[in-house]
Amino acid sequence: MNLQAIKVIFQYEMLRTWDTLFQSIVSPVISTSLYFIVFGSAIGSRIQSIDGVSYGLFIVPGLTMLSLLTQSISNASFGIFFPKFTGSIYEIHSAPISFFEILVGYVGAAATKSLIIGFIILLTASFFVDLNIAHPLWMLTFLILTCISFSLFGFIIGLWANDFEKLQVIPLLVITPLVFLGGSFYSVNMLPPFWQTVTLFNPVVYLISGFRWSFFEVSDVSVGISLAMILVFLTICIVIVGWMFKTGYRIKQ
C-alpha cells in the first residue's frame, strides 16, 4: 500500500476545499438557509404537519440529502476530471500507486467533504427548527453511506466525462430532478396512487425515506429496504469502477 500517496491525494483534495471555501461550504449554507426561510417559515407555517412532523422539520432530511448528493457528485467528478482536463493526470498514471489507492484518495476526500457539509447543513437547520434525532447512529450510517456511494458515482462520471458539458449533464439532468421528485419536500403518500408507483422507481426516494426515518421514525418505505437500496447502489458503483479499472476504459491508452 502506498499510504503516502493516498494521504497526499486526500490532502490535496481537501486543500482545494479551503481554496474554494466560499463555493464549497458557504454556498450550501446559504442555499439551505434560503430554503428554510421560504419553505420552512414563510410557506411551511401554512402547511399542515406531515405524519405528525411540522413541515419545517419534515424537509430537513430531504434538504440535507439534496446538498449531499450534488456536493458528493460534483466534488468527486471534478477532482478526477480536472487533472484529465489539464493533462496533469500523467503523474498519477506514472506513480507507483494502484487504482484502488487513487480511488480511496479521491472518493475518500469527496465523501469527507460532503459529510462535513452535511453536518454544517444540519447545524444550520437547527437554528431554524427544533431538531431531535431519534436514531443518531442510523442517521450517521445513512449519511456516510450516501456520501461514499455518491462520491463514487461522481468519480465514475469524472472518469467518463471528456468535456465539461458531460461533467455537468448528469448532476443537472438526472440527480436534481430525482431529488426533487424523491420526496424531499413531501411525503410519497401525498401523491395519487399512480405517481406513488412511479416514484418507487426513483432510488433517491429510498435514501430520503431512510434518512428521514432516522430523524422522526416516519418513512415512506421500510428502513430495511432503504438500507438495502443504498447498498445495492454502492455495489453497482463499485462494480462499474472495477470494470473501468480492469479494462482501462477512459483511463489508459
Binding site: A5, V8, Y12, R16, F82, K252
Partner: protein, 308 residues
C-alpha cells in the same frame, strides 16, 4: 553493459488502429545519457509513455532494474521520473504544493530541505507560493522538472525538454542534467534538435516511423557515418579540373577557386597525401586548406531518408 532499463519486442497499436511502435528492442545502460532522435510522430513519446506506465503496450515487455513494469509496477515506477512534453500542470495549486504532492504520490516522506534545494537549483524558489496558472511557459517547464525530480528518481525521462524553451533555461537544464548524471542518474531524453543530442548524449538512438533504426555510441556514430571534406583553396582560379585529377571525387566551385574532396574517415587511407601531391604536380598552387566534418544533423537526415 549493465542495463537499468531493458525493452524487449515492444509494440504499440493505438485504439485507432495506428501502429506507433514496431518491435522495439533497446537496453539503456545505468548512468548514461541516451538521446532518442526522431522526427515528429516517430513514436518517441509513445515509447517513453509505455516505459513510465502511462500507456499500455500492445505486446512486448519493459523491465527496470530487472522488474517488469506491468507486474511489478510499484518497483519500476518508484525509480522513474518523467518530464512530459506538454506543459501539463494544474492551475490553482502553488508550486510548493504541487511538488509536495508529486513526492507523496511516489511514496516518499516529506523532505523540506531536499525540495527547497531543488527549487533553488531550478531558480524557482522565489516562485514557491505562486499559483501555477500565473507562471510563464518557461517557469512551468521548470516546475515540471522539479516535479519529476521531487522523489529522487534513478532514471529520468525528458520528453523534448527544450522545445520552445529560452536560452537560459536550456543552459540551466543541461547543467542539471550533467549534475544528475554525475550523481549516477540515468537520463533519457527525446529531441528533434540534433545539436542537443550532439551536445549532451553518450549514446544516440534514432526512431523513425515507430522503428528504432539505430542505437550507437555518439562518438562511434559520428565516426562511422561521418564524412569529411577537404576544401582546397587555390591561389589562382582554374576553368576546369586538370586531367590528372579526374580519378578523385572532386568538385570544383563555380568561381574555380575551390576544390572539394569528400572522403570517408573510416577507410584505411584517405588519399589526402596523394591528392595533394597530384594537385602540386598539376601545377596548381595552394592558398589554404580547410577540413569540414559532417554533423549529426547530416547523418540524421541521411538515416531518416533511408528509413522512411
Amino acid at each position: 553493459m549493465q542495463a537499468i532499463v531493458s525493452i524487449n519486442d515492444l509494440s504499440k497499436t493505438y485504439q485507432s488502429g495506428f501502429q506507433a511502435l514496431k518491435k522495439i528492442n533497446l537496453d539503456i545502460a545505468k548512468g548514461e545519457i541516451l538521446a532518442l532522435l526522431g522526427p515528429n510522430g516517430a513514436g518517441k513519446t509513445t515509447l517513453i509513455s509505455i516505459i513510465c506506465g502511462i500507456v499500455s503496450p500492445s505486446s512486448g515487455t519493459v523491465t527496470a532494474n530487472g522488474h517488469d513494469n506491468v507486474i511489478d509496477y510499484r518497483k519500476t515506477r518508484e525509480l522513474i521520473g518523467l518530464v512530459p512534453q506538454e506543459l501539463t500542470l494544474g492551475a490553482f495549486d502553488t508550486v510548493w504544493n504541487t511538488i509536495q504532492f508529486s513526492r507523496g504520490l511516489f511514496g516518499k516522506k516529506k523532505d523540506k530541505t531536499y525540495l527547497e534545494q531543488l527549487l533553488k537549483d531550478l531558480s524557482l524558489f522565489d516562485k514557491k507560493n505562486h499559483e501555477l496558472r500565473t507562471l510563464s511557459g518557461g517557469m512551468k517547464r521548470r516546475v515540471l522538472i522539479a516535479k519529476a525530480l521531487s522523489h529522487e528518481p534513478e532514471i529520468l525521462f525528458l520528453d523534448e525538454p527544450t522545445a520552445g524553451v529560452d536560452v537560459e533555461l536550456r543552459k540551466d537544464m543541461w547543467n542539471i542534467v550533467r549534475r544528475l548524471r554525475e550523481s549516477g542518474v540515468t537520463i533519457i531524453l527525446t529531441t528533434h534538435y540534433i545539436e542537443e543530442a550532439e551536445e549532451i548524449a553518450d549514446r544516440i538512438g534514432v526512431i523513425s516511423n515507430g522503428e528504432l533504426i539505430l542505437v550507437e555510441d555518439k562518438q562511434t556514430l559520428m565516426h562511422n557515418l561521418g564524412k569529411k571534406q577537404l576544401i582546397v583553396e587555390l591561389k589562382e582560379a582554374v576553368s576546369s579540373l586538370p586531367q590528372s585529377l579526374a580519378t578523385y571525387d572532386l568538385t570544383l566551385s563555380d568561381d574555380g577557386n575551390k576544390l572539394t574532396y569528400t572522403y570517408d574517415t573510416m577507410s584505411d587511407s584517405t588519399g589526402i597525401t596523394a591528392l595533394l601531391q597530384n594537385i602540386h604536380n598539376a601545377g596548381l598552387a595552394l592558398k589554404d586548406l580547410q577540413i569540414k566534418q559532417s554533423s549529426l544533423e547530416d547523418i540524421f537526415v541521411d538515416l531518416v531518408k533511408e528509413g522512411g
